[in-house]
Amino acid sequence: MSKQAQATVASGSVRSRRSSKQLRETLDAYSMLLPTIIGVAIFFAIPLGISLYLSFTNARLFGDTKIIGFENYLKALSDATFWIALRNTFVFSLFTLILSTVPALIVAILLNEKIIGRSFFRVLFFIPVVASVVGVSLLWRYLLNLDFGFVNYAIHLLGFEPIPWLTRPEWGLASVILIFTWKTVGYNMVIFLAGLQGVPRQLYEAASLDGASRWRQFLNITLPILSPTTFFVLVTTLINCLQIFDVPVALGLTRGNTVGPADSMLTVVPLLYREAFLNTRMGYASALAWILFLIIMAISFVQFRVSDRWVNYE
């Protein structure tokens, strides 16, 4: 056998050995992934498919189900309650987004400095994040009560009129914004803190040698380097806001099935819960869920496109 032929045989057996090894490794990998794949299929993909199907039917909890095309989607567009819920969701999201990111950044910067009791304050701001939503919402119901709530007592001591937080339609959504913001600031603060730890010290040193003020340093060093973190915080907070459910329901669901006085705390997800489980209109509720999904996807898409202009990845 010539040297060349020997080499060919050798490489051929190597290749076949390699491919059988590859196959085994692939199988091994899939067997490891299988639990997750099955989990995702059973608990996510299949229900997702069913809900898409239901959104085109008149399904209730019981009885015959028949396909009705886009009727549920058209009904949503002409449903005054849906528009109220959508408006409430956007107003809520806008205010919460601003109120839970800007203060979180400020607090994170303060708690990134070497101040006394730094760990204590970090924990203090994070506690609301850990607390159960339903628990704190019930607690806030007492705090915000018009007649015996502590918040109004404090307002009274300051010499102002008590605020009907939970009993007047014009204040309902403000209460939800207040509580959700209080719960979210701590989480966003921790993310910002992590981002701040990643800013190289030497940049500040170089900047101060060049005579840059603290404010200049913040604008030209901190903010640009923090921009991926800021982007993450904005995207996740906004998605959480658009999907808000627990606070309005725990705070405002009444015996009359309204969410807050005159449905003032009604956002899209509580509405779809009400339609599905209180009015047993599964088909219509599924359609609402898909409309919300499309809205969130569209907004996230815009956020990602716009992010190219202001987010700097190192």
């Binding site: 091994d28 019981f62 018009l146 007649d147 009993t167 007047r168 209180l278 009015n279």
Partner: protein, 444 residues
């Protein structure tokens, strides 16, 4: 290599085990599934159980749950010889009670007997989930349907079929703080009623005199929902939330709008605490003079109120009016043994059992026979228990909407009512918009 393969096998086994466990859950026998939910449930000890019957209510607190556990013991004692074993399976008192039952009915593991609110009847019967009891009644000579209030049985009857037996009824009355009336030197609602002078005018007058913002004292209070709220005020002025055939909205009539206007004025004058449930606590704390509520409010007031109190009939408007709230036990159409379930249902709605529940103070018995009525009248305070019974003759019944969706209707009306009592829309706008926006809740 070896550990890797065994890991693969192990993970595959885990997956299969998980899937088998998931499948197994649906075939778990009913009794087994119920056991963890009812730790205190009692089952017949000795006799060979030929049939097991599971039943459910929604106790409001531990004391009420205990009474139902006693009823369970009673049923087991009485039915031991017939080989029937009875299990009480209470469900938590939250907004999801009906959702839970409907989900269980859909999944095929609902209790054999369960309590619901009267207004929810149509949702259950319309979908074929409920057993017609008429054949069982007809062949049982010991059973007398005439012992129950006719108007309630009337609501349970449809096309000659009877879909349940009432567990309890309750009219709405005025709870009042006697000490507060004495301090203000005013006639109590009971005294005004006795003098034939208890009406919407004297209610307004009394509420104004008792209200004192400086002392955080309100003359009046009631929960902000259809019962004491829009339902009562619309009815008492001669209107009705629904049309007489119950197939449409009746809130845009002049009578209904007059009722709404009266209520709006109460809020404008700040004679009552705003909010839904908070008023109950304020009444028990002594900050509210009069409070509209059903019988279920009595045990809490007994426990919490540190003042003398009593009840009186609801004030009269153009007509006499109150609500008759009621709730039946229904039998699951899929019950394994209808005859055994019927025996249990008879015990649960017997004079002895309903008397026991009434003595607890939460309900009025659904029966007219003396044993049950006397047990109720003896459950004091309040001294004037008769007030609950007097309303039965003229009360409007909480009733199912057979050709529509009551939950959806009342939710939409409530939202507009909230706007009206906040002064954002007028009573006319409330009535008209309510009927416009709820039109589609009546078409199926």
């Amino acid at each position: 290599m070896y550990w890797k393969r065994s890991l693969t096998i192990f993970s595959l086994l885990m997956i299969i085990a998980t899937m088998l466990a998931a499948c197994g859950a649906s075939t778990t026998p009913q009794g087994g599934a119920a056991a963890p939910a009812a730790p205190a449930a009692t089952t017949a000890p000795a006799a060979p159980a030929a049939a097991t019957v599971r039943w459910r209510t929604r106790p409001g607190d531990a004391a009420e749950q205990k009474v139902y556990e006693e009823l369970n013991t009673l049923a087991n004692d009485q039915l031991k010889d017939k080989g029937i074993s009875v299990t009480y399976d209470p469900a938590p008192n939250n907004g999801d009670y009906f959702t839970k039952i409907q989900t269980e009915l859909a999944a095929g593991n609902a209790p054999d007997i369960f309590w619901i609110g009267g207004a929810n009847l149509a949702d259950f019967v319309n979908t074929g989930q409920i057993l017609d009891l008429k054949p069982l009644m007809d062949k049982d000579s010991s059973f007398k349907i005439g012992d129950f209030y006719d108007n309630v049985i009337g609501e349970l009857t449809r096309d000659g079929k009877i879909y349940g037996l009432p567990r309890d009824i309750s009219t709405m009355v005025v709870y009042y703080n006697e000490d507060m009336f004495k301090a203000a030197g005013l006639q109590t609602p009971k005294e005004l009623a006795a003098a034939g002078n208890w009406n919407l005018d004297t209610l307004l007058d009394t509420a104004k005199k008792l209200t004192d913002p400086a002392k955080q004292q309100y003359g009046l209070g009631f929960g902000n929902w259809w019962g004491p709220g829009w339902g009562y005020f619309v009815n008492v002025e001669g209107g009705s939330p629904l049309t007489p055939d119950r197939k449409g909205c009746g809130l845009n009539t002049p009578e209904a709008i007059a009722g709404a206007a009266y209520a709006q004025n109460l809020y404008n004058e700040k004679l009552l605490p705003a909010g839904d449930a908070d008023g109950e606590a304020l009444f028990s704390a002594g900050n509210v003079g009069m409070y509209f509520n059903g019988r279920w409010f009595a045990p809490g007031v007994r426990t919490n109120a540190k003042f003398n109190w009593d009840v009186a009939p609801m004030p009269k408007g153009k007509v006499e009016s109150t609500w008759l709230f009621w709730g039946p036990y229904l039998v699951n159409a899929k019950t394994a043994n209808p005859d055994a379930t019927w025996e249990v249902l008879k015990v649960l709605t017997s004079a002895e059992a309903t008397g026991k529940v009434a003595a607890l103070g939460t309900n009025v018995p659904p029966r007219k026979d003396a044993a049950a009525v006397n047990a109720f009248l003896g459950a004091t305070p309040p001294a004037n228990n008769q007030a609950y019974l007097d309303g039965i003759s003229y009360a409007a019944l909480e009733a199912p909407v057979w050709d529509g969706n009551w939950g959806d209707f009342s939710g939409k009306v409530q939202s507009l009512w909230d706007q009206m009592i906040a002064g954002q829309i007028t009573p006319e706008e409330f009535g008209n918009q309510a009927c416009e926006q709820t039109a589609d809740t009546f078409t199926k």
